[in-house]
């Protein structure tokens, strides 16, 4: 059985208690809502994208420790990056949490590698993924709505 401390790593607990970029953006030009009906997790991601670069990002919503920390770490990881870089991070993150053989490469993923422990808790993968799917939807359209179910 997977160990709890692999899931609730210190960086995840910290971002759950003190989520970064946890606010609405007044001047967002991309937003999306995500929700996980089975858990009751809800998130809205706000983006300000200029010349293909994520200039600012924020999120609102309520969820479990994993989804809140994932949203917080995601916003910290993609701010200032190009949308293409954000898409590559999405792919790397997604591969890490679903594929037991995918490397959790700290060089690519940075602090996001803390979510490698989610692999041992299949029921929680969707919690970690929700903010990323919502970001993906926000980038794909001016506004949208996604669900992980």
């Amino acid at each position: 059985m997977a160990e709890l401390r692999d899931l609730y790593q210190q960086v995840i607990l910290d971002h759950n208690k003190n989520p970064r970029h946890h606010h609405r953006l007044g001047d967002a030009n991309h937003t999306a809502e995500g929700n996980n009906p089975l858990c009751g997790d809800r998130i809205t991601v706000f983006l300000k994208v200029e010349d293909g670069v994520i200039r600012d990002i924020g999120f609102e919503g309520s969820g479990c420790a994993i989804s809140t920390a994932s949203a917080s770490l995601m916003t910290s990881a993609v701010i200032g990056r190009t949308t293409a870089e954000a898409a590559r991070l999405f792919d790397a993150f997604h591969a890490m949490v679903v594929d037991p053989d995918a490397p959790a490469d700290p060089n690519t993923l940075g602090k996001l590698a803390a979510f490698a422990g989610v692999r041992g808790f299949p029921a929680r993968v969707k919690c970690a993924n929700l903010p990323w799917h919502t970001l993906h939807a926000a980038l794909a359209a001016d506004s949208g709505r996604v669900t992980t179910e």
Partner: protein
């Protein structure tokens, strides 16, 4: 269980419930989780574990008696048919239905509700008519009614509940108007544990000429049900929630209703004669059992009902009441923990939220101590919305649970915020 039922039980319960003897009947409960701790199974409102007798009855059927039922003239077929139809008599006695013909084998409570919504209610609905449900219904006792209401231009109305999770019945007569065609209500709430005064509700609905379906999925595991005493028109049961197999359940319907209802699905076994011009349908219950039914499941369910009926229900009532009181008291002593659903009449279901910890984190963390809890909205989103919570953690007990297990649960929940830092 009502106070009256409990009071009636207590004085006569001279022998305390021997929970260890009962646990020995359930092989799954012997298992240990990864690090050697015993499994603490507290998700009985989702599904119950099966006694060895149920597993044996199903194995024996497949090993010795399996054939398709009805119509065959050989001995094996007659044996299988006898077992299947015998299961119907067992179900009749279990619910105290007047006749075995009033018992339809279905997949479970969900199918029972859908069958009644489609075959009984739908033909009676005209635009502007109304169907009444309650605020604490499981989605399976909301959505089937919504589907027929949408199709027929009818309206769904809702009996409200109070902050304790009890139905507010003062205004019931106002909801039961001349356009009301059906009232559907749960006997016991899966998310809150509330036991509704179904007998009274049925009497008041009948006084207004409104037929009543009772969702009995969460009632039959906790107390004995007598459909004639309740007076309801329909009563639905899920086999797997009453210590039987999945994929089989019961629909009780008063014969006069079943006889007047059109078929739910078409197929084999539900007809009297078929030609391309005209098909005539079999009488109930066959009319509602198109195709080869879940024969093995019905036989397993009968074994479960026999097992349940043989329990000392006076002692079970006392034991489950004690478990609920123990869990409610010790859990609510945890700082920041709030119990959702505090009705005066409850079965052993404790839904709760904890400040600073989402239900899913609670579920994952207590799992490390071998505690199996359900977390989420329990397929009762309107009820969750009413209490203003996205999700709860829910411990639900069966007669085989112990006070020691509740101690493990409480210690595990008390540790949650420590883990979350």
């Amino acid at each position: 269980m009502t106070d009256a039922q409990r009071a009636a039980m207590r004085p006569s319960s001279r022998t305390p419930f021997d929970v260890e003897r009962v646990r020995a009947d359930f092989p799954l409960l012997r298992q240990r989780v990864a690090d050697g701790r015993p499994l603490v199974y507290l998700d009985n409102a989702a599904t119950t574990q099966k006694p060895q007798k149920v597993i044996d009855a199903m194995s024996r059927f497949y090993a010795e008696d399996n054939a398709n039922i009805h119509r065959g003239v050989y001995d094996l077929c007659e044996r299988a048919t006898r077992l299947y139809e015998g299961a119907r008599f067992t179900a009749q006695r279990f619910l105290n239905a007047a006749e075995a013909r009033e018992i339809v084998f279905v997949r479970g409570t969900t199918e029972g509700v859908n069958l009644v919504a489609q075959s009984f209610c739908r033909p009676r609905l005209s635009p502007g008519d109304e169907v009444v449900v309650s605020a604490m219904e499981h989605h399976s006792n909301i959505v089937p009614w919504q589907l027929v209401c949408e199709e027929r231009g009818a309206r769904l109305r809702v009996v409200p509940m109070n902050a304790r999770g009890e139905l507010v019945l003062d205004g019931l007569e106002d909801l039961l108007g001349p356009r009301t065609r059906m009232l559907a209500v749960t006997h016991v709430s899966n998310a809150l544990g509330t036991v509704n005064p179904v007998r009274e509700i049925v009497a008041r609905a009948h006084a207004r000429g409104v037929p009543v379906l009772v969702d009995g999925a969460q009632a039959t595991p906790h107390f004995r049900v007598d459909v004639r005493d309740l007076g309801c028109d329909f009563y639905t049961v899920s086999g797997h929630k009453v210590f039987g197999p999945t994929g089989v359940g019961l629909l009780y319907g008063r014969l006069e209703h079943l006889e007047a209802m059109p078929p739910y699905q078409g197929g084999g076994d539900m007809i009297r004669s078929v030609s391309f011009e005209k098909t005539t349908f079999a009488a109930p219950p066959a009319r509602f059992e198109a195709g080869t039914p879940n024969i093995g499941g019905a036989i397993g369910l009968a074994a479960a009902l026999d097992y349940v009926v043989a329990l000392d229900w006076d002692a079970v009532g006392v034991h489950e009441g004690d478990l609920l009181a123990h869990a409610s008291e010790t859990l609510s002593a945890i700082p920041g923990l709030r119990i959702i659903g505090t009705a005066a009449q409850k079965v052993g279901v404790v839904s709760f939220v904890l400040d600073g910890a989402h239900a899913h984190d609670i579920g994952t963390i207590v799992d490390e101590d071998g505690v199996a809890l359900r977390t989420g909205h329990h397929c009762a989103q309107p009820a969750m919305e009413f209490f203003g919570v996205p999700a709860t953690a829910r411990a639900s007990f069966a007669f085989y649970n112990t006070h020691a297990e509740i101690e493990v649960l409480v210690a595990a929940v008390a540790r949650v915020r420590e883990v979350l830092g």
